[in-house]
Symmetry: C2
Subunit: 493 residues, 2 copies
């Protein structure tokens, strides 16, 4: 009975949080421009209400009372997770939350202006304040070794600089030379990706792929926004967005598949556990593993296009009839170092992440000053990608994350990709003829494997634990490198 | 200072209520089907939170403290209105609110099924319970003479059965014989309205009209939904919906203009007064006066089409090139008794309302039993409109209102139309060459008159008071009849 009351209370809090999510979704997708000011206030009120409801005596009492009842294993774990959450959230004073919120708004505005005007100095003072606050936050949370660990833990429980240093050391030692070697080889022609692709047809093709992926359009929808994202209001209303560019076929499709992968995770969480930790995703790294698995291991695979390329040609005969399937496949997997993270290929992408990781860790640990940041950024782009950064707008100002105070977020992109490789390898071992199935447009068993090994658990297990259960071992970079060797030795012989 | 705290508190409550409005809008416009269940719960949670916040000791204390401060006239009125609201809302026990909410869900579901299956008996038991609860509600609120007055007051302050009886008596004595006379005359051909009108072009024409009306698309947007409606999240985000039917030109356009009229009212409310009574519409009748004024007095006028008909012909030459402007004008104003309220012309529309008013008053006063309702409905359609009702789906089950517990709502449709005629007449007297301006597509001064005389005040004045201030007298049915005589003696010579 008490557990049920606890659950009801948590569901009410979830109702408020998901209402916020609807408002945020609308803000990105449909809101008229003048609506922004009031919307910001409405969102802040809802956030305040949800926070107050959660850190209330009521939550504490319900938790204390529930723990003594007769509980199932899952109920026990829910209570444990909630106690951890409550312990964390109650460390934050209202003053600190408000200071952080105010700094985020100011910092975001400064970043936007700085990026538009290509002037880092406009952003620098706010970024300094933000870093100061994030260091304070790390002190509030508490940490071992590096304050950066405290921030990491907010996105990826139990992830540490130790683990990441090891991982990016692998990237340095294995991926960097691999890519260096590739870029010496004959360049691949992918100019056909930049022909004229009718927007409506692109859209329809994307919807077709999403349906085949078993993204449930009765429990979701796709819209357009300037930055693609996934959001959920419960497991039966999980929405994605994409952007469609007439002269860049890649932009829309792989965004759709990527967000579709995120959405399948959310649609696969337990509906019964709405409002409880077991109904929530376990970490950003695991979330990203789902999007990357679909985007790269499925959506950029030879098997996928064996099925889909002839179909795609019927959508865009004028662009693709002259292009052979093998050249299309090579084109969409072209490796080419570039300045912008979000348009990077699946290999050099990790150099972008590594650079951000090294820099943000140094900023939080105090070994790098904000004023030195652009220089440090540019140097790393020269060292790791061999590129000159022409200006800060295309350099240190390109990403929104730091202006939002999201330090510790970037590494989860790479961690997610490496999990994806390991998961895909594990799934391949138990699903008979997986590649053959994919080459027939059948992803059913792959999805079932993900549902069974990842989605259903919510926060029951941490990323580490999930990975061990699903693959038999801890996160191991070699799966990613195996995938890379196998795939790219074919594309770049 | 205390007043400011009161205002902040009220704004937080408004934030929650407008968040609900966003969720409801999304539910009607974009939500995937499976999202319904969780959405209902989220909406109910937000409603509960807003209610708790409003009937709290905090509101009471802030009101009591504010009233003693140094206040402007508007601040005083805001406090008065809030005290009235609080007095009313605190009369409702949580049990009653919950019972009503549960009955509404059950009753709505029963009504939907009954309508689909064309079987009133499915709805009857729920309707009985609903009427019982609404009678209880009337007792809770308190009333003079008829319990129906208590319910009316929720939508239209100070409106009474006495006033409505008088008004509908005028309808009986003046409008009924006028329409009877018209229907004996030569029938008007409006078959061209049911040709094939391309949806996209209809949409574009509607947007063009809305822009000319000065509906601000930077502070709003139009979408499609099965039942057109207007909703607002603040004065700078006021959204409308319409529906587009390929074989019925009338459906989309006048819905757009109608909702556009509602939206201009909301966009014209005071942004400064967000969250306070002076930032809210004053009554449903006044709201409806704005939509009807634009829909009928502007959108169905000869002046309007003098400007717009040549433009419309360029949109749909294949439908309209053979149709003369005067025949188009007559066609869109064709008077023809029908069974369905929502597709009625602007004259017989009031017979539909009158029937509902008489029936719902009798239901609440206890002089009509639910089991007798279909028979009574059908008899009135025979008496007032001369029509046989073939089945309950096209009769007593056609409207959603009673299933929602909205008793006292229908009369505001007619009251609104009569206000519209009176307002339009008053505006004509002070705006030089209003018809000439409209015939040039210029509605600027008309809107300014509405902004100045109606919109800006919010709930500062009741409908009665507003009407006296804007027109010099109380609501007077003769303005509507004058309009009718003048317009229709031309159309039906």
């Amino acid at each position: 009975m008490t557990y049920l009351n606890l659950k009801k209370h948590m569901q009410r809090i979830a109702d408020v949080n998901y209402a916020s999510a609807v408002l945020s979704w609308d803000q990105e997708v449909f809101m008229p421009v003048n609506g922004a000011e009031a919307r910001a206030r409405q969102l802040s009120t809802l956030a305040g209400i949800a926070h107050e409801m959660f850190v209330s005596e009521k939550t504490k009492n319900l938790l204390n009372e529930s723990i003594n009842g007769k509980l199932t294993e899952n109920e026990k774990i829910n209570i444990e997770r909630l106690q951890e959450d409550l312990k964390l959230k109650t460390k934050y004073t209202t003053e600190f939350v408000e200071a952080l919120s105010a700094c985020t708004s100011a910092s975001f505005n400064a970043w936007q202006e700085a990026k538009n005007k290509n002037n880092f100095q406009i952003f620098a003072p706010q970024l300094k304040k933000m870093i100061e606050l994030k260091r304070k936050e790390a002190e509030i949370i508490g940490y071992k070794k590096s304050p950066y660990n405290a921030l990491l833990d907010l996105y990826e429980k139990k992830c540490t600089t130790e683990k990441l240093d090891k991982l990016f050391d692998d990237v340095q030692k294995q991926l960097v030379p691999f890519v260096k070697n590739i870029t010496k080889k004959k360049s691949i022609d992918n100019s056909f990706l930049f022909y004229h692709y009718n927007k409506q047809k692109q859209w329809e093709f994307g919807i077709d792929v999403l349906k085949k992926m078993n993204y449930d359009f009765n429990s979701g929808r796709q819209d357009q926004s300037s930055h693609p994202f996934t959001t959920n209001f419960n497991t039966k209303d999980v929405r994605i967005t994409t952007r469609v560019t007439e002269n860049d076929f890649a932009e829309m499709l792989w965004s759709s598949i990527h967000e579709g992968g995120h959405a399948l995770y959310e649609q696969g969480l337990s509906d019964e556990e709405y409002g409880m930790p077991l109904g929530e995703y376990t970490s950003l790294g695991i979330h990203e593993s789902q999007s990357r698995l679909w985007e790269n291991h499925v959506g950029r695979s030879a098997s996928f296009w064996k099925y889909y390329y002839p179909i795609l040609q019927t959508y865009f005969p004028e662009c693709l009839n002259e292009i052979k399937e093998e050249n299309f496949y090579a084109g969409i997997n072209k490796i080419e170092p570039g300045l912008i993270r979000t348009s990077a290929d699946e290999l050099t992408y990790h150099f972008h992440v590594m650079i951000r990781y090294e820099l943000e860790k140094a900023l939080i640990e105090g070994t790098l000053e904000v004023d030195e940041l652009p220089k440090a950024w540019n140097k790393k782009y020269k060292d790791y990608l061999g590129l000159e950064v022409p200006n800060d707008a295309k350099g240190v100002l390109q990403d929104i994350h730091w202006s939002h105070g999201s330090f510790g977020y970037f590494p989860t992109y790479s961690v997610g990709s490496f999990y994806a490789a390991q998961f895909y390898s594990a799934a391949s071992k138990v699903i008979p003829d997986l590649e053959l199935k994919i080459s027939k447009g059948d992803y059913q068993e792959l999805l079932l494997w993900l549902r069974k090994n990842i989605h259903q658990y919510g926060r029951k297990y941490t990323a580490d634990e999930l990975c061990k259960m699903a693959t038999g071992e801890e996160l191991n970079f070699s799966y990613f490198m195996d995938y890379v060797h196998q795939k790219y030795s074919g594309i770049y012989p």
